[in-house]
């Protein structure tokens, strides 16, 4: 919903009415105000310029019992990222909105201290003064020496874009939950180890004390006990008590996984991740997996004499985060966090587009493998992960990158910050449905009305103090804000401006005042009158019925509708045949636009319900929507904005990508490229990362090739129709460059690497033509080179030969209409990435044609037994020509793709079937410039 004031802010409509129209020069008032940050050299797409930090980052803070809230570390660990942003101040902010229940050491009525198994809480808050918005994930870690054995921590994703946080809440939440689970599992392990050590100490102390009392008993046989003896006996008793306490604690911490699993009926997602985390811990250390107990402590520990009284004092140094957590898990957590940072990097609209993109791609899972870059592979991995929960974080964090992962140095600035715990009063009881046992006491005292009073009071307090905190939402609250955006997106597809204008309007409203958009544990807790009393923010938003509507919409989008869209685009192709301008081609895209819009609304709907991954799954395809697909996320958010911001980025990475391509050409694609991403924080899926870079370069070079060579069309036709193209040249770099460029036209056999060999120097063999569809071949002047050329001419029927040195091409004739559209040398497209997208869209259309052709029953099966094969063949031909609108050689392209589709569909396990070398006995022609 775009409200009127939003528009006013930009166009100044009211003044426009008064002024005469025919002024020679446009008065100052008419002009749309310039982008306020343009002077700083920032582009208008970057919203970060308002904030004090240059890009999004993750902050881990702790509420230290000694010094109050303090920042511990940031990811990326680079001072340039957060710049002048006051981390201490912001730590205070984010730690102050923890709605966690208070941490009870000794609950009343219980003899022993109880551990609190608290759920993480997830809050979105904004600080308009700082221009920072954050998703804050609170968690508690156990520390034997801490007050109540718990240490509150939080991880915050800080961005200048409020909408990014709000709309990506679901994803952020699930990703951070993973990190949190990982950290907590590691912490429990460490805590259990610590407890065992402590128990050993206590045990040892007890024996020592025991012998001492015995000695004293023997020493004085006067019949009464000396004060010393009584003291010893007391000490012994307290040691005994302490032992029981600690044993109880140990039992509690060990029973944690079971407890969690029991509760998993209510919160299956959490249960699953917990389960996964546990498995991760068992599978990651093979030596441990043997022992049934997860938390066995190293046997090498030598016990020491300790004091029975626990030390709860402020004079000693608290454990650092690293010390609190098992090292392996800690590293893993950091890797996960840097993965999150990668994942959400970039502009919101980019993130959303890529999400929609992926969702749509997922619907075409049958044809995806042909031209898309390994999305399918990741999806499969994902599916596997979900069905068989195996070490979640390790699957997406190859050990290699773990090794390389530099542990960010911990920023502890003890003392530099004065604690202001008491001044911030925002505090809320959390709804704790899934933790009956532990939290009974709190639940009993839980009263909604009282709760609201709390809230009210807190807000007043804050307003009076002139703080500028905005709590935008918590995990349990219904997500109202994004709903409105989703409504907008149904009519105006994904315009970033719309989103932005909303942001602006919000910020104006919230000027220097606290704005609690939604803090309630559940919507039901807010009485209607309460809502009305805060009209500024809340009333503007839509409520649960919109929510319903979104679901309704979602239900109506189903394969038939998509099919229509596809057919629509097919029809369009007819009209687009001669044009190669991007504008016209978008017609085809427009037809299918409702689908993205739906997807988006769905996306928001997903956000608006409490994060429970399992429930989403039941709802058809969109269950898979909230992808945690690391590599593709990585791809998408990594690439585009980085390019926008820093055009020289690509140049700098040229040699890197070159080496990556080198490896890429060989069979093990995934592992080989890992080495290339060392220039940045080790990414979780380096393959995807480099392929994003690779796309841009490839698009650029392909464009160059098309402009430079008039015979680009038959060359591309060769690739599309499965005829191996050999690029022959002396200079390796040039050949490699062109091969990389042309590889975007090569259809894949399956989910593995493209059949492209970037550089070969030995004579080719028939096997090579079966395996590779695009080969860069070294031209050698020596007699050995003659052999190479001889084999080339011998196998000429299987190949098209592009001679870079003589600028000739030998290949079959092409007279179709498809390739001219794909590769128009007069195209207006200038940028590599744009061209790449253009190619992808044309190829996607082509794929859908191939899909239709492959899966039309009547085309391939005789309608009755006696039907002649010729009739079938003519039916196929007429379908290809008339229905799909293919001319001449285009038919062969679709036929080839159809064969690949068939092979792929029938393939049981990827990679098992042999690729078949197909050839057509058609004459070749020699093209020259």
């Amino acid at each position: 919903m775009i409200s009127a004031p939003d528009v006013v802010a930009f166009t100044k409509e009211d003044e426009y009415e008064e002024e005469p129209y025919n002024e020679p020069a446009l008065p100052e008032e008419y002009s749309v105000p310039l982008f306020p940050f343009a002077s700083q050299g920032a582009n208008p797409w970057s919203k970060l310029s308002g904030a004090k930090f240059s890009r999004d980052f993750i902050l881990i803070s702790e509420f230290s019992e000694q010094v109050g809230p303090q920042p511990l570390l940031t990811i990326p660990n680079d001072t340039k990222v957060f710049g002048t942003f006051d981390l201490n101040y912001f730590s205070l902010r984010i730690m102050s909105v923890d709605y966690q229940a208070s941490f009870v050491g000794h609950p009343p009525g219980s003899a022993y201290p109880k551990l609190n198994f608290v759920e993480d809480s997830k809050v979105v808050l904004g600080d308009s003064k700082e221009g920072a918005f954050a998703y804050v994930h609170h968690l508690t870690l156990y520390d034997l020496e801490a007050r109540g054995f718990v240490r509150p921590f939080c991880m915050a994703y800080i961005s200048a874009d409020q909408h990014k946080i709000m709309q990506q809440f679901q994803e952020l939440s699930s990703e951070f939950s993973k990190a949190s689970e990982c950290l907590k599992t590691g912490n429990r392990k460490a805590f259990a180890g610590e407890l065992e050590k402590k128990l050993k100490d206590l045990d040892y102390t007890r024996t020592v004390l025991h012998t001492e009392t015995e000695i004293q008993k023997k020493a004085n046989d006067k019949g009464f006990y000396s004060s010393q003896a009584i003291e010893k006996a007391n000490e012994l008793a307290s040691v005994e008590k302490s032992i029981i306490e600690h044993q109880d604690l140990l039992k509690q911490i060990r029973s944690y996984p079971h407890r969690k699993l029991k509760g998993s009926d209510l919160c299956p997602g959490e249960g699953l991740t917990q389960d996964q985390a546990d498995r991760a811990s068992t599978t990651s250390n093979p030596d441990e997996s043997a022992s049934t107990d997860l938390y066995t402590c190293r046997p090498t520990y030598t016990p020491k004499l300790i004091k029975a009284k626990s030390t709860k004092c402020f004079d000693k140094k608290l454990k650092t985060l690293e010390e609190l957590c098992d090292t392996e898990y800690f590293t893993q957590t950091l890797a996960q966090l840097s993965h999150i940072e990668h994942m959400f990097r970039g502009d919101l609209c980019y993130l959303l587009t890529s999400q929609i993109d992926r969702a749509l791609l997922k619907q075409q899972h049958i044809t995806n493998f042909l031209f898309e870059d390994f999305v399918e592979v990741d999806d499969r991995m994902l599916e596997k992960q979900e069905s068989i929960p195996t070490k979640p974080s390790q699957d997406r964090l190859p050990s290699r990158s773990l090794e390389e992962c530099p542990i960010p140095k911990v920023l502890i600035s003890v003392g530099s910050y004065k604690s202001s715990v008491e001044s911030v009063l925002i505090k809320m009881e959390q709804e704790l449905g899934d933790e009956e046992e532990v939290q009974v006491t709190e639940l009993s005292s839980f009263d909604p009305q009282e709760n609201l009073d709390y809230l009210d009071m807190d807000m007043k307090g804050s307003i009076s103090s002139g703080e500028s905190i905005e709590v935008l939402g918590t995990e349990k609250s219904a997500f109202v804000l994004p709903m409105s955006d989703s409504q907008a997106s149904l009519t105006v597809p994904l315009s970033p401006q719309v989103v932005r204008s909303k942001a602006v309007s919000h910020r104006t409203i919230s000027e220097d005042s606290i704005e609690v958009l939604s803090t309630c544990p559940s919507e039901a807790l807010i009485p209607d009158d309460f809502k009305a009393s805060y009209p500024s923010a809340i009333n503007e938003e839509s409520y649960a019925d919109d929510n319903e509507e979104a679901i309704h919409f979602q239900a109506s989008i189903s394969p038939p509708e998509l099919g229509e869209a596809e057919e629509g685009s097919l029809e369009n192709t007819q009209s687009q045949v001669d044009s190669c301008c991007i504008g016209k081609e978008s017609e085809g895209q427009l037809v299918s636009l409702p689908a993205p819009a739906h997807a988006l609304s769905d996306e928001d709907r997903v956000v608006s319900i409490p994060p429970q991954r399992h429930r989403q799954k039941d709802q058809g395809f969109h269950g898979d929507f909230s992808v945690e697909n690391p590599s593709s996320q990585d791809n998408n958010c990594e690439g585009f904005p980085a390019y926008e911001v820093d055009p020289s980025h690509m140049l700098a990475n040229r040699d890197v990508s070159k080496t990556s391509l080198d490896n890429y050409s060989d069979t093990s694609h995934m592992s080989s490229v890992a080495s290339t991403s060392s220039d940045r924080i080790p990414s979780t899926h380096p393959a995807g990362l480099s392929s994003e870079r690779h796309k841009k370069r490839a698009g650029q070079n392909a464009l160059k090739f098309i402009r430079q060579y008039p015979f680009a069309h038959p060359a591309i036709y060769s690739l599309l129709s499965g005829r191996t193209l050999v690029v022959l040249g002396e200079d390796e770099a040039i050949v490699r460059k062109l091969v990389t460029a042309l590889s975007i036209f090569v259809p894949n056999y399956g989910c593995y690497a493209k059949p492209v060999k970037h550089w070969a120097s030995s004579p080719l063999h028939i096997m090579d033509f079966q395996k590779w569809k695009l080969i860069g071949l070294q031209r050698v002047a020596s007699p050995a080179g003659a052999g190479t050329l001889h084999t080339l001419s011998r196998y000429s029927r299987y190949t098209s030969i592009l001679d870079l040195d003589n600028k000739t091409l030998r290949c079959p004739l092409y007279r179709g209409a498809l390739v001219p559209r794909l590769a128009d040398h007069r195209t207006q497209i200038k940028r590599g990435s744009t061209y790449y997208l253009h190619v992808q869209s044309v190829l996607a259309q082509l794929c859908s044609k191939a899909f239709l052709y492959t899966f039309c029953h009547h085309l391939h099966l005789p309608s009755h037994d006696k039907e002649a094969m010729q009739l079938l063949a003519s039916r196929q031909a007429s379908f290809l020509r008339l229905t799909l609108g293919l001319v001449n050689e285009d038919v062969r392209v679709v036929q080839y793709l159809a064969e690949l589709l068939k092979l792929h569909y029938m393939q049981e396990a990827p990679g098992t079937s042999h690729p078949v070398l197909r050839c057509d006995y058609v004459p070749s022609f020699l093209y020259k410039i």
Binding site: M767, S796, L872, E899, F925, L926, Y927
Partner: protein, 459 residues
């Protein structure tokens, strides 16, 4: 603007100037083999292919291993390891005793002087025979008698259970090179220049022993006999190194027909230099025969000849069908002839009967073959003309299969699955009819869709 030249298509072959080798452009509309699958398992020359059943075949070669393949999918089913040296002969043997499961056995002979009997289903070694004094060079099965024979320097007869029944004396050091069964419990063996007829004596009431007797030696060939094939029930054919083709009566072992005019001395007298160049004795050695009811097809040197049994003369020929010696030929049911050669190519020919047209170019007659036929000088029209007859046949070149980089040793034709070739480049290639395969894949696709329940009827 686009400037392009239409090139001549195919570059001339290296030997094209020297010999009138017929070439075909890249446009081969009648060539059905548009799909190929390269199978790699061997580490040395693959020399033998043998069909096991409708969809399986076995390959063997100089690396001593036998591989069983699925001809439909190209899947490697079994690898049989047991020989230490190259395999010299391979044959299949359906054992009759265990009829219920139709146990197909593979017999392999190797240069390590052993013969191994394999179970083709399990890959198990059923029996290993190592009592030979020489390499067994040929194997034959007499299905009727339920025995099999090994031919090396002597001839041994074995029964179903691989027990030695009887053997001959040492025949010669060169050993038996070919062995075929002929009627009346006889076998004919090619030993050097000689053909030796042996008769197997089955056990009777009088003697319980099997026996093998040498019945006759036929000395009509002037050079080593390279090929020996049964034509039909009453005749067999032999070919020698110097191009003698003799058709024998299988019952009385008399010569039915004799052709040794592939190498006609008269042609040597001809002044044509280019003819002399290719008339080395190697060029007329007869490597392989294949037969149908009417004709015997002979691979003679680099050429192909069709000998009509009724007319007792050559009715069609391609003198230089390949660049190099033709190693194996086979007649397909659809009047097609396939040949493979040391030059690494496989060529497909079609035997066509043609009415002689008056407009046909006048034969130059420089090369008078067999005194009754003349061949056209233009290799592109290699028509063997018969003035006496109104009909004449020609071998039309309809396509070639290029894939192997070295000599193609043998091939095997499957009615349903296409052609399998094996080569000295260690590879086996499965050639398939692309259109047919595409149709089959579609069928499978819809089958799978149906199985998965993804097939919906259009409303």
């Amino acid at each position: 603007m686009l400037r392009w030249l239409i090139g001549g298509g195919r570059e001339p072959q290296g030997l094209a100037e020297k010999s009138p080798l017929q070439t075909i452009g890249e446009e081969q509309t009648q060539n059905p083999y548009t799909e190929l699958l390269v199978l790699k398992a061997h580490h040395d020359i693959v020399r033998f292919l043998v069909q096991l059943d409708d969809y399986r075949f076995a390959s063997a070669g100089d690396d001593g291993i036998v591989v069983v393949w699925n001809a439909e999918t190209g899947e490697q089913l079994l690898e049989l390891n047991g020989h230490t040296q190259k395999i010299t002969a391979i044959i299949t043997f359906t054992s009759l005793e265990s009829c219920e499961e139709k146990n197909q056995l593979i017999l392999t002979a190797s240069a390590d002087k052993t013969v191994v009997v394999w179970d083709s289903n399990s890959g198990r070694q059923v029996r290993r025979l190592s009592c030979f004094h020489s390499t067994v060079k040929c194997l034959t099965v007499l299905q009727r008698l339920d025995v099999w024979l090994t031919g090396g320097n002597d001839l041994c007869v074995w029964n179903q259970k691989s027990d030695l029944l009887c053997k001959t004396n040492h025949l010669s050091d060169t050993g038996i090179t070919a062995l075929v069964e002929i009627p009346k419990n006889c076998v004919v063996a090619a030993v050097g220049k000689e053909l030796v007829i042996f008769r197997l004596v089955e056990p009777t009431e009088g003697s319980l022993e099997w026996d093998i007797l040498e019945v006759k030696r036929l000395l009509d060939h002037q050079d080593n006999i390279l090929s020996l094939v049964n034509v039909n029930d009453v005749s067999f054919v032999t070919g020698s190194h110097v191009g003698e083709l003799i058709i024998w009566d299988a019952l009385d072992w008399s010569v039915q027909a004799y052709e040794r005019n592939f190498w006609d001395p008269s042609s040597q007298l001809d002044a044509q230099q280019e003819i002399k160049l290719c008339q080395k004795s190697n060029d007329i050695s007869i490597h392989h025969f294949t037969c149908d009811e009417e004709n015997v097809f002979a691979a003679v040197g680099r050429g192909l000849y069709v000998y009509n049994l009724q007319m007792k003369r050559v009715i069609a020929c391609q003198k230089t069908a390949h660049d190099s010696n033709v190693l194996h030929i086979a007649k397909l049911p659809n009047r097609q002839l396939i040949s493979c050669s040391e030059d690494g190519s496989v060529r497909i020919w079609e035997l066509r009967e043609k009415q002689q047209l008056a407009a046909e170019p006048v034969p130059t007659g420089f090369f008078n073959m067999w005194g009754f036929g003349r061949v056209n000088k233009q290799a592109s029209q290699p028509v063997k003309k018969q003035p006496e007859s109104a009909t004449l046949c020609s071998l039309e070149f309809i396509g070639d299969l290029i894939g192997h980089s070295s000599s193609v040793e043998m091939f095997l034709y499957f009615e349903d699955h296409g052609l399998v070739t094996c080569s000295a480049d260690h590879l086996i290639i499965l050639w398939k009819n692309g259109e047919r395969e595409s149709g089959l894949r579609s069928l499978k696709l819809f089958q799978k869709l149906e199985e998965n329940g993804d097939l919906y009827l259009a409303v």
